[in-house]
C-alpha cells in the first residue's frame, strides 16, 4: 500500500515520531521503531508525562509504566510501577524477549532490570521535587483518595478509612485535575 509504512502516536510528540520513522527507514523492525520512538520520549520527558522526573506520587517519587506488543506473534512485554530505571520501554521489551511472562511490577521489576543490565538511578529531578512541594503546600490537592479521614479534599494524610460515600464533590474534584497529567 502507498500508505505504508506508517508511524502514529498520541499527542504532539514530534521527535518520537521522527525517531520511530528513522529507525524503520534504516532497516529496523516495527518493534525496534516502537521501542526507539517511545525511548526518545522518555529521554525528552515528553510534556512531563513520559520518563523520569515527572508525575511524582504522594511520596514525591516517579515510577514508570510501559508496554510493547508484537502484532504478529501477540507477544507482549510490560513493566508497571517501575522504580529507579529510566528506560521503561526497553525493560518492557526485555520482559518480552527474555522471559515467558507478560508483566513485571514494582521493586521486582527494578531488580529484573538491573539483572538485565539496566542502570539503576534516581528518577527525581528539581522539577518533580517542585511539583511535589507545591502539592504538599496546597494541602495535597488534587487528591485521589476517597472515603477516608481526614478529608482528602482539604487535608494531607496519613488517612484512615471511613464509611463509603458517593458524593458530588468527587466529580468536582476530577475536574480540577491537570490535563497534562495523563496516562
Amino acid at each position: 500500500s502507498a500508505l505504508l509504512p506508517l508511524v502514529i502516536n498520541t499527542w504532539s510528540f514530534n521527535t518520537a515520531t521522527q525517531r520511530a520513522w528513522s529507525t524503520l527507514q534504516s532497516g529496523g523492525s516495527v518493534l525496534d521503531a516502537v521501542e526507539k520512538g517511545c525511548a526518545q520520549c522518555e529521554v525528552d520527558q515528553c510534556d512531563g508525562s513520559v520518563g523520569y522526573g515527572g508525575s511524582p506520587d504522594e511520596h514525591g517519587e516517579t515510577s514508570l509504566d510501559a508496554m510493547i506488543m508484537n502484532g504478529n506473534t501477540m507477544e507482549v512485554g510490560a513493566v508497571a510501577d517501575l522504580r529507579r530505571i529510566k528506560s521503561a520501554i526497553s525493560v518492557a521489551r526485555a520482559v518480552m524477549e527474555h522471559t515467558r511472562h507478560t508483566l513485571l511490577v514494582g521493586e521486582s521489576a527494578s531488580m529484573f532490570s538491573q539483572n538485565m543490565g539496566f542502570l539503576s538511578e534516581d528518577l527525581t529531578t528539581n522539577n518533580s521535587l517542585s511539583i511535589h512541594a507545591k502539592w504538599l503546600a496546597n494541602n495535597c490537592q488534587p487528591n485521589f483518595r476517597k472515603s477516608v479521614f481526614p478529608d482528602p479534599e482539604t487535608s494531607c494524610g496519613p488517612y484512615k478509612p471511613t464509611e463509603r460515600r458517593q458524593s458530588k464533590k468527587l466529580k468536582n474534584l476530577k475536574q480540577r485535575i491537570n490535563y497534562r497529567s495523563h496516562d
Partner: protein, 141 residues
C-alpha cells in the same frame, strides 16, 4: 503518556506505550498504559490502537482492544476510535481520554472525549504520503 503504533510496508504491526502516570497518584498505582488492550493493542491481521488520558477509567473498558476489534469488523479507523470512546461515555460521559487507530492497510484516525478544558486532541503521523512527521488534530465528541 506516549502511545505509538508502527506498521511496516509488509503490514507487520507493533504497539507500545510509555508513561510516568498521573500526578500525585497513590504510591503503587498503575494506569492503563502497561495493560494489554487498554493502553495499546496490535494485531497484524486487523491493525493497532493506542489510548491516552485518565487511565483509571480507561483501563476498565479495554478501549484499544475494542477499537482493533471494530477495525477487524471492517469499520473505518476514525469510526472505530469514536465507538470505543462512546462506549466509555455511556458510563463516564465526560471522561478525559483519546485514542489513535490505524488499520492494517495504513488508514488511520483518532477520537477523544470532550470534557472541560479538553476539546481537541493532537496526534502525530508519518508515512510516505506525508513529507515529514505531521501533526493532526480531531475535535472531541
Amino acid at each position: 503518556t506516549i502511545g505509538m503504533i508502527v506498521i511496516d510496508k509488509n503490514g507487520n504491526v507493533a504497539a507500545g506505550t510509555s508513561t510516568n502516570g498521573a500526578n500525585h497518584k497513590i504510591h503503587g498505582r498503575v494506569g492503563d498504559s502497561p495493560i494489554v488492550g487498554a493502553g495499546a493493542y496490535a494485531d497484524s491481521t486487523a491493525g493497532g490502537a493506542a489510548a491516552t488520558g485518565d487511565g483509571d477509567i480507561m483501563m476498565r473498558f479495554l478501549p484499544s482492544y475494542q477499537a482493533v476489534e471494530y477495525m477487524r469488523m471492517g469499520l473505518d479507523p476514525t469510526i472505530s476510535c469514536q465507538k470505543a470512546v462512546t462506549r466509555i461515555q455511556v458510563y463516564y460521559p465526560k471522561f478525559f481520554g483519546a485514542l489513535v487507530c490505524v488499520n492494517r492497510t495504513g488508514s488511520y484516525g483518532a477520537a477523544c472525549s470532550k470534557t472541560p478544558g479538553f476539546n481537541q486532541f493532537h496526534f502525530m503521523v508519518q508515512s510516505p504520503a506525508l513529507n515529514e512527521a505531521s501533526e493532526h488534530m480531531v475535535d472531541c465528541i
